[in-house]
């Protein structure tokens, strides 16, 4: 029970109540995140409606191999995260830390692949501005949104990785009580980042390829 006491914070009197509140709080934050990405998705919808041809032409230029491998990577990382979260609740320390470390590694793989893809995009002149590769009206809008949406997503992923890295570190040093709601809350956040990607993947990679 000493572990439970370590996880308890002001102003709570019981750990279960605290965990409930942490999960509830993060759900509220995720709702807010959905609207954040929702703004960009709305821009995508409006611009695609105005320029269907330009959007399909542009979507054909994204790198589907990198995109698909990254989708698989991220889904697997979410699986690791779910293992970490559930084993944390059941008190399985090694498995929990292993799951977190796996998530962290796959997150890193995702960012590396994303970096390679960005390099590829830049060499193919897919950055809007002077010298942009595609002439169609709307193609630049597509790539503006491509860079913004994947960039903001990668930023969210990086924030998640920093949080997970900290959890792994304090977990190894046995300073993290497994009962702490931090693992579950981080897991919820990580899954959101994953879900956002599942929406971005078809919008950015599958258009114009049917």
């Amino acid at each position: 029970m000493s572990e439970a006491a370590g996880a308890l914070r002001e102003p709570w009197h019981s750990l279960s109540r605290q965990r409930e509140a942490a999960a509830f709080g993060i759900w509220l934050f995720l709702a807010s995140e959905l609207l954040f990405f929702g703004g960009m998705l709305l821009c995508y919808a409006v611009c695609r409606y105005s320029h269907p041809q330009g959007f399909l032409e542009a979507a054909r230029q994204t790198n589907i191999v990198f995109g698909t491998v990254n989708t698989l990577t991220l889904l697997t990382s979410s699986f690791c995260m779910a293992i970490a979260s559930e084993s944390g609740k059941s008190g399985l320390r090694r498995l929990a830390i292993g799951g977190l470390a796996g998530t962290l590694m796959l997150g890193f793989v995702f960012l590396v692949i994303k970096g390679l893809e960005y390099r590829d995009d830049i060499s193919q002149h897919l950055v809007p501005g002077a010298g942009f590769a595609l002439p169609q009206l709307g193609a630049q809008l597509f790539f503006s949104l491509y860079w913004m949406m994947t960039g903001v997503h990668a930023l969210h992923l990086t924030v998640g990785m920093i949080i997970i890295a900290r959890l792994v570190l304090v977990g190894i040093r046995r300073e993290l009580p497994l009962t702490s709601p931090e693992i579950q809350v981080t897991a919820l956040y990580w899954h959101l980042v994953d879900i956002i990607w599942i929406i971005l993947y078809p919008l950015l990679y599958l258009g114009g390829r049917a």
Binding site: E10, P11, R17, E20, A21, F24, G25, L28, F29, A31, S32, E33, L35, F36, F37, G38, G39, M40, L42, C43, V46, C47, S50, H51, G54, P128, G129, L137, G138, Q140, L141, F143, S144, L145, W147, M148, V152
Partner: protein, 560 residues
Amino acid sequence: MSGATILVRPLTPVPESGNYLTAGRTIWSWLTSTDHKRIAILYAISITVFFFIGAAAIAVIRFELLTPTGQYISDDTYNKLFTLHGVVMVWFFLIPSIPNTFGNFLLPLMIGAPDVAFPRLNLFSWYLNIAGGLFTLYAVIAGGVDTGWTFYTPFSTMFSNSHVLAAAAGVFVAGFSSIATGVNFIATIHMLRTEGMSWMRLPLFVWSLYATSLVLILATPVLAVTLLLIVAERWLGLPIFDPAHGGDPLLFQHLFWFYSHPAVYIMILPAMGVVTEVITCFARRRVFGYDFMVYALVAIAGIGFFVWGHHMFVSGQSPYASLVFSFLSFVVAVPSAIKVFNWTATLYRGSVSFEAPMLYALGFIGLFAIGGSTGLFLASIPVDIQVHDTYFVIAHFHYIMVGGSVSAFFAALHYWWPKITGKLYDEAWARFAAILMFFGFNFTFFPQFVLGYLGNPRRYHVYPPQFQVFHVMSSTGASVLAAAYLLPPIYLIWSMRWGRAAGDNPWGATGLEWRTSSPPPLHNFLNPPKVEQQPYAYHPEGRGPVPGSRTPYRTQDQPS
């Protein structure tokens, strides 16, 4: 019989145990405190600073507008000053004003909790707010921003030569402070209500914070992403709203107003909550139609999300869209009117007294009624086309935001000052300031309705000479208003040093916040209170208040 002599277990701790103000005396102890009461004070100080910055900007403008020609400042400076006024007043004063000061201070006290759900997040949100404010101030010092607070494209992304990026970054960061506060408040209300505090026993101020927080969480992120896209287009050259690449500037307006119309409700809903608490206390009557007051708050927050298009009637949006937005804008007036009628009905046959908080609250009802009904002028498309982007709009929203929110802010300040500091201010000065503020406000803004109706557009540095008389009236009123704003800081700070001790419950109010000492101890209550009552049992049900009596029939922790 008044029935006020029932004995309950004392919730008040022994005074020797100290209070939140004496819990640490260094500045560091304030800057690192996670106590919601101290964070409220931090917010109070920072928004006061921002308020006077925003006020200074408009003071220069009102001085300049005494004459039809531009004399003292350049057109550019004029644009930068009204932008500064708007940005600072909206995001660094009005949005955080009541929720982050009085909401932070009172929410846990009113529901009998020791603190908010996430105390460290609460402190973090203050630092975010300050960081955002510093970005914005940097934009000012570096040379200013001239886009207006609305950041409309393509001007903001392509043509403006001012510091748009820093200002947008400031508002972006402050937005996350809003979201953190919203999350904290909703989690607190859901998870930390004391025993017996069921949903329909919540004080209406708490309900108003709940509705406000919903808007904060769901609207603010859309503003954040919109500003991010502005930064991307201006700084990184990624076209999104640029018509040359097929983008749509109207899309920006939709996204902007999807936040900024609900933001009006972020400003007015907490004000409504404050006014309800004050009216019921000084009328000594139960709030008329408590249930409908709750439904109205939630309805305003909900419907408020679907009326943004009334800012765009002349933008060229589809007339069918305008029709729907016009209809919904009329619909949102219904719950607002319910609240006005219920406040009035609460006063009916009350034992009304006119202390300073009550004067501010009564002023609120009148000014909000004018601001609200002129909102209906603007919701109706043909009238809006005549007065769009004129001083009529300026007058309308200042009646809501200044006549409404700022009056309520001062009502709250005077009503809870004894609780916050433990001291009583000078009542005569306070009443004088309240009355002066009411007259100064009307003197400033009523002429602007006329100006706008006659066709004087907003945001213009110069104007035709026939409008001068109204501008002179308005500027004269503004100086009266400025005097009324400068008075309270003087006598309130005076009271902290020389004021009489307030006692736990100087107004004879019923809420839990009055059942602990003034100022409250560090953890609010020595024993967690147990709620037995509706929040406003000022008199027995079925019988009116006893004339002249200031003792409540039952406080919220007393059984019926």
